[in-house]
């Protein structure tokens, strides 16, 4: 047998299809886990909230803004650890927001492993924009 069997794709800029499929399946798993985990935390916090505040009046008609301790990661985590039901829901919401961000982090790493440096740069730019909004803002 000559050892010139399918060694590289005819066009060196294209990746083998198997890598694509592997990447797709891992991204799929990551997204599913993130969404289900956050939905579970939101549900748990929501049940707790409704058990304690079922008969409270709602207050969404005019905009006051959410209390400041529910704006930041540290405030949310501290209140959630003290059993504040709204903070537990808000923590679930943070997990939800983190899911697409984790997907971008994952893409940076995956493109790096594939040595596709153009897309390492592209996904890093997207990641920096997300971090600007979430952390430095």
């Amino acid at each position: 047998m000559p050892n010139s069997m399918p060694k590289a794709a005819p066009n060196p800029s294209r990746r083998p299809a198997a890598d694509d499929a592997q990447l797709d399946i891992r991204i799929s798993l990551l997204l599913r886990t993130g969404v289900l985990t956050s939905a579970f935390v939101i549900l748990a916090g929501g049940i707790l909230y409704l058990l304690r505040h079922a008969h409270d009046a709602t207050h969404y008609k005019t905009f006051h803004g959410v209390p400041p301790h529910l704006h930041s990661l540290s405030g949310i985590v501290t209140a959630a650890l003290h059993g504040d039901s709204l903070a537990i829901i808000q923590f679930g919401i943070l997990l939800l927001i983190a899911t697409p961000v984790a997907r971008v982090v994952f893409s940076v790493v995956a493109f790096l492993l594939e040595r596709d440096f153009l897309y390492v740069v592209i996904s890093t730019i997207v990641l920096l924009v997300l971090l600007y909004s979430l952390i430095w803002h």
């Binding site: 800029s13 294209r14 694509d20 499929a21 797709d24 991204i27 799929s28 798993l29 997204l31 599913r32 993130g34 969404v35 956050s38 939905a39 939101i42 549900l43 929501g46 909230y49 409704l50 505040h53 079922a54 409270d56 009046a57 709602t58 969404y60 008609k61 005019t62 905009f63 006051h64 803004g65 959410v66 209390p67 529910l70 704006h71 930041s72 709204l86 903070a87 829901i89 808000q90 919401i93 939800l96 927001i97 899911t99 697409p100 961000v101 997907r103 971008v104 893409s107 153009l118 897309y119 592209i122 996904s123 730019i125 997207v126 924009v129 997300l130 909004s133 979430l134 952390i135 803002h137």
Partner: protein
């Protein structure tokens, strides 16, 4: 209304929105804001905050299924996300300075636009010739058609990129996925086959929404007790819709839902002009 009744009612309506959005492919997020603002008299800033969270949940949930099937083009998605995330941050800033009435009127126009383009004929195949920029960015790809891989080419990348900035801005301003604009940019400008553009758009929506989420969060738009029934309702509805999709006849549902969306659009514009918000 007390918190329990409110949560149950909002969750039930959100479930219906998620179900219809998923069956028709129009997305449930687009009706959440008018539903909350018009029927439940929720302030529009809380409404767009809750809607944006529902959009992240359904987009990530659906993308999980689509990515696995190999329809979405991760490179097109990632490249265009540069445009949509910058747009989303710009849009979220606009939301903080635009008066409520202005947001309502723009929202109404987008609803009517989404309804109008939802029944247009779409191209199953891509362009014959490749664009040199698309080739350099490795955007051309392939997708499975009855077991075989069909390749496609991508064109007019700068135009698509510009339209995606607009889609991101609308997403950040209105708390929607703006799937209609994203799909239009890929279908019409870049000539991506519709199976690929639909699923890639869905794949991008979550990242775009996450870019405005930080700004919404720090401005106090994300109210946990409101986000809870909306997000869980829409997510459950869209998951059930995805299971039913195989059996349902979607064309008639799509026409009815498009009419509902257009009517909500007219109502939003009217309420905005008369200052009912």
């Amino acid at each position: 209304m007390n918190a329990l009744d409110f949560s149950l009612l909002v969750a039930a309506c959100s479930f219906a929105a998620g179900l219809l959005g998923s069956l028709t492919g129009l997305g449930g997020g687009v009706v959440i804001v008018p539903l909350l603002a018009l029927a439940f008299h929720v302030d529009i800033h809380y409404a767009i905050g809750a809607s944006l969270m529902a959009v992240i949940a359904t987009s990530s949930g659906a993308a999980a299924a689509y990515v696995r099937e190999g329809f979405s083009n991760i490179r097109i998605g990632m490249f265009l996300e540069i445009a949509t995330t910058f747009g989303a941050i710009f849009g979220a800033y606009l939301a903080t300075i635009t008066p409520t009435r202005g947001i309502a009127i723009v929202f109404g126009c987008i609803l009517i636009f989404s309804a109008a383009i939802s029944n247009r004929r779409r191209k199953p195949h891509g362009a014959d010739t490749a664009d040199s920029l698309a080739t350099r960015l490795r955007l051309n790809g392939s997708f499975p058609v009855s077991g075989e891989k069909q390749s496609y080419n991508v064109r007019r990348v700068p135009l698509g990129f510009g339209l995606m900035f607009g889609a991101g801005t609308l997403s950040g301003l209105l708390g929607i996925g703006s799937g209609a604009v994203k799909v239009l940019a890929m279908d019409e400008a870049m000539q991506v086959p519709f199976k690929v553009s639909t699923t890639t758009s869905n794949f991008m929506i979550g990242v775009t929404a996450a870019a405005s989420a930080g700004i919404y969060l720090s401005r106090g738009y994300i109210d946990p007790s409101l986000v809870m029934p909306v997000t869980l309702g829409v997510l459950a509805g869209s998951l059930v819709g995805a299971k039913l999709l195989v059996r349902a006849r979607t064309r008639s549902i799509r026409i009815v839902f498009a009419i509902v969306i257009a009517a909500l659009g007219v109502e939003m514009i009217f309420s905005g002009i008369t200052g009912r918000f």
